[in-house]
């Protein structure tokens, strides 16, 4: 039986020569994201800003969003967002927080229900109050920072600090790249986005660690190899694994995206992007960046002082 090889054996892709382009591309992306974020912001979901979400399904036929919009103005709940949601008979209705505390939210929801009751079935409602939403924001920020930090510490203990820094930069890169997705697509940024973000962080770190592991191994084996050559060798020799795992993960996510239903589609689409970005960043960012963190022939040096003094390390390597 002939086996499928997506990546041919013994690839010799010069990742280190591609490095400036990759860095430039990533930098450009970061700037675009930052500008886009500052200009347009995110479409923050009700999890983070409070408000109400109602999913409606027509009792018969397709939904008339335009008509529904005019009808809902009579509910006087301020600006109402309507959007078709996964099918012509499904509509998602969203509006912001209402004055009058808890009773105000309830009264508004009752008004909306009363207006649509005749020809729509209410499939789902979510009301998130302001205290909960601000806590969710806090929790999410803490979660992302904490997980990056925890992994940083783990890598620092298991490898050397340069690896930890490299992995962190790659991870931050992935986080911003996923934000690009949210800024560009205007997809709802909610609590499940945070879950997607943390999952991608986990995935990308996994990928990065596999390559780092190989770099470390090669550093021990080929003590005199030039750093660029060594990194290229390490990335190339893990390339098949990187691609195959990315493929299986991508395939699983693709199934979720197409068949998992509308509720988790935003979640899976951002993770699809995340897997691509995470895979790219471990080969094109995380590994090459070690050069800038002082990786030389002979490694970061046997002692940490040599790592901080490149000349000393070089001298030792020549000796």
């Amino acid at each position: 039986m002939r086996l499928l090889r997506i990546i041919p054996d013994n690839t010799k892709i010069d990742f280190m020569r591609l490095r400036p382009y990759a860095f430039m591309l990533s930098m450009a992306l970061q700037i675009v994201t930052l500008v886009g974020f500052l200009t347009f912001g995110l479409d923050v979901g009700i999890d983070f800003k409070g408000g109400t979400l109602v999913e409606l399904q027509t009792k018969e036929g397709t939904a008339n969003v335009g008509e529904l919009r005019t009808r809902l103005t009579r509910a006087s709940v301020g600006e109402v967002q309507l959007q078709e949601f996964g099918g012509p008979n499904l509509v998602l209705v969203r509006y912001g927080e209402q004055p009058g505390g808890e009773e105000g939210q309830q009264a508004a929801l009752r008004r909306v229900r009363a207006l649509v009751d005749a020809d729509y079935e209410v499939r789902r409602t979510e009301v998130v109050g302001p205290t909960v939403s601000s806590e969710l924001v806090q929790m999410s920020v803490v979660g992302v920072i904490l997980s990056i930090f925890a992994v940083l510490v783990y890598l620092w203990l298991r490898f050397e600090w340069q690896f930890a820094v490299g992995a962190m930069i790659a991870t931050l890169h992935d986080v911003t790249a996923m934000m690009t997705f949210y800024v560009v697509t205007r997809a709802d940024f909610d609590i499940s986005s945070i879950a997607a973000l943390l999952t991608v962080i986990g995935y990308s770190l996994n990928d990065t660690v596999v390559i780092y592991d190989r770099i470390r191994e090669m550093m021990r084996k080929h003590k005199r190899m030039e750093a660029t050559e060594l990194l290229n060798l390490a990335i190339n020799s893990t390339l098949a694994r990187t691609t195959i795992t990315a493929m299986t993960t991508f395939l699983a996510l693709l199934a979720l995206f197409f068949f998992g239903g509308e509720v988790i589609r935003g979640f899976t689409s951002s993770m699809l992007i995340g897997v691509i970005v995470g895979t790219y960043s471990s080969s094109f960012i995380a590994a090459p960046i070690l050069i800038y963190l002082g990786l030389k022939a002979g490694g970061f040096g046997a002692t940490s002082s040599e790592a901080t003094e490149p000349q000393a390390a070089e001298a030792k390597a020549k000796a």
């Binding site: 086996l3 499928l4 090889r5 054996d9 399904q57 808890e102 309830q106 009752r110 079935e121 209410v122 499939r123 789902r124 409602t125 979510e126 109050g129 205290t131 909960v132 969710l136 999410s140 979660g143 904490l146 997980s147 925890a150 992994v151 783990y154 609590i191 499940s192 945070i194 879950a195 943390l198 999952t199 986990g202 995935y203 770190l205 996994n206 660690v209 596999v210 592991d213 190989r214 191994e217 020799s237 893990t238 098949a240 195959i244 795992t245 299986t248 991508f250 395939l251 699983a252 996510l253 693709l254 199934a255 979720l256 197409f258 068949f259 998992g260 239903g261 509720v263 988790i264 979640f267």
Partner: protein, 538 residues
């Protein structure tokens, strides 16, 4: 590395088998499950997003708890000083403290000694917390009794515990099956009612404090006078709301004594009934012995005077006592409908909440959406797994088959562990399972790629396989631990469905490490032993 002792192999297979069997009760018919010993009836529950239902997050009103705590403190101060015959010039609140100023010439030292008896150890007299719920300080003739933050926190925490009990009684009384009622954080309660359609139906039963009080009407002053000037120190003005439909059309004021004769705590029964004579809905109630005694005494002493029945600081009715009520039972009337009397009777039976609750989050999922999500989740899981299985087989052939068997075992073990801890399976949780299938093969990919490399560098079959497993091991560990760290954090910080996702992801990583390190290797070793291959089909 490649030799498996018999007991080791048995242990691996047994572990996998036992863990997988934990998932069995999920798919066995109910009649079989009922015959199993209780400890073996492990199963997952479907999350609200899959079976439909109402999810509410309630918050105990900490400010109200604080206010009540301060009022109690003031009453304590007043009682203590009165009992020691110390005269007070002024008594009032200041922030979180009660401030008392003594008249000139009073015994300040005595006052300090007596006031110092007020603070209670948090957690009861035998507690080791070392913290008190109040602090007493003196400056000249002014005494300050401050409610400590620790004390208020303790009260809030206890209010949550009591509220959970009351809510459980109320929900149980409505005949709802298997509600989930949990404490969340310091002052929150999570309430999930599977199968419920309308949150309003549930809120009707838990939104009201339902504090019932019987108090005397203060007749020392006309109520209009009290509104115009000031009510006596021992009385307050409360209103009766006259409603038309849901609209309050009139508010009738009453001057009512602060002290309650009897409260709802002394009720042992309350039932809605139709009073045929008056042609209206009423609530028949019965007091316990001490409540009945107190009520009998008060009604005997106050014949021909009015008393008020008060619910949550609103007057329901204020009838005149025609004759002493000695039997310990009575009737409340107050413009009830059939429904409102039934609801109130239920609330009275279940008891009052210690503090008002607010709803800070509410999510409802209709049963049809839940069913759709189950179908979608199942389809996605099957199709996703099929993708991965086919891809792995195409890439690694026989070894891909090994990996696929390992992944199957992996997924079954995941369901076993989820059943063991009685986890709730949510749609994001299913997504976590599917994602795990995609990522779990990674360990196998790492091993197989290593074996390939070893084989290409000209080693023997045995040496390649041995080297592949050994060298991949460290990488698998490092890679999975970093991922485990993020899922643990996600689990601790996440709520609801996100937690479910993190849980499946985390358990998936653990089972992945088990299957990759032991199970795949066992399969490969069996293959080596039985077929004695001369080359590796990779």
């Amino acid at each position: 590395m490649l030799s498996f002792t018999r007991w080791k192999a048995t242990l691996i297979l047994m572990t996998a088998f036992v863990v997988i069997m934990l998932a069995a009760p999920n798919v066995l018919p109910q009649s079989w499950v009922d015959r199993l010993p209780r400890a073996m009836r492990t199963h997952m529950t479907l999350g609200l997003d899959l079976q439909g239902g109402v999810h509410l997050l309630l918050q105990v009103d900490a400010n109200d708890v604080r206010r009540v705590q301060l009022e109690n403190l003031r009453d304590d101060v007043r009682r203590v000083l009165r009992d020691s015959r110390i005269q007070v010039q002024g008594l009032g609140f200041q922030g979180n403290a009660v401030v008392a100023r003594l008249r000139e010439g009073q015994n300040g030292d005595l006052a300090l000694t007596e006031l110092r008896k007020i603070p209670q150890m948090i957690g009861g007299a035998f507690s080791t917390s070392g913290q008190y719920d109040a602090e007493v300080s003196r400056s000249g003739d002014t005494f300050t009794v401050t409610a400590t933050e620790a004390g208020i926190r303790d009260k809030v925490s206890r209010a949550v515990t009591q509220s959970i009990e009351v809510i459980r009684r109320r929900i149980d009384a409505t005949g709802t099956t298997e509600p989930i009622i949990q404490r969340q954080g310091l002052d929150r309660i999570l309430l999930q009612v599977p199968g419920a359609k309308n949150p309003e139906e549930i809120k009707k039963f838990i939104g009201d404090v339902a504090k019932l009080e019987f108090r005397l009407v203060d007749q020392s002053m006309r109520v209009e006078e009290a509104i115009a000037s000031r009510p006596p120190a021992d009385s307050v003005i409360l209103y009766e709301e006259v409603k038309e439909g849901n609209r309050v059309v009139q508010q009738v004021p009453y001057l009512i004594q602060r002290r309650a004769i009897v409260t709802g705590e002394d009720l042992i029964d309350a039932q809605a009934a139709f009073n045929a004579q008056q042609a209206e809905w009423v609530i028949n109630f019965r007091f316990n012995a001490s409540g009945g005694r107190k009520f009998a005494q008060a009604t005997t002493e106050n014949v021909n005077r009015p008393f008020a029945i008060i619910l949550d600081n609103k007057v329901i009715s204020a009838p005149v006592i025609r004759e002493p009520i000695l039997g310990g039972s009575g009737q409340i009337s107050g413009r009830f409908t059939a429904e409102s009397s039934a609801t109130l009777a239920l609330l009275l039976r279940a008891g009052a909440l210690p503090a008002p609750l607010t709803f800070v989050e509410e999510r409802t999922v209709g049963a049809s959406l839940g069913q759709d999500s189950i179908t979608a989740g199942t389809n996605a899981a099957l199709i996703g797994s099929a993708f991965v299985v086919v891809f792995m087989f195409a890439t690694y052939g026989l070894f891909g088959l090994f990996a696929n068997i390992a992944v199957l075992v992996n997924v079954l073990m995941m369901f076993g562990l989820l059943s063991l801890i009685g986890a709730t399976l949510t749609l994001p949780g299913i997504a976590g399972v599917v994602l795990t299938v995609g990522m779990a093969v990674d360990s196998n990919v790492l091993i197989f790629e290593r074996i390939r490399e070893e084989a290409h560098s000209g080693r023997s079959v045995m040496a390649s396989i041995d080297g592949g497993f050994t060298k991949a091991m460290g990488t698998i560990m490092d890679a999975n631990i970093t991922q485990l760290i993020t899922s643990v954090i996600l689990f601790y910080l996440g709520t609801g469905p996100v937690k479910g996702f993190a849980l499946t992801l985390g358990l998936g990583i653990i089972t992945t490490m088990f299957t990759a390190i032991t199970f795949t290797r066992y399969l490969v070793v069996l293959w080596l032993r039985w077929f004695k291959p001369v080359r590796i089909p990779l």
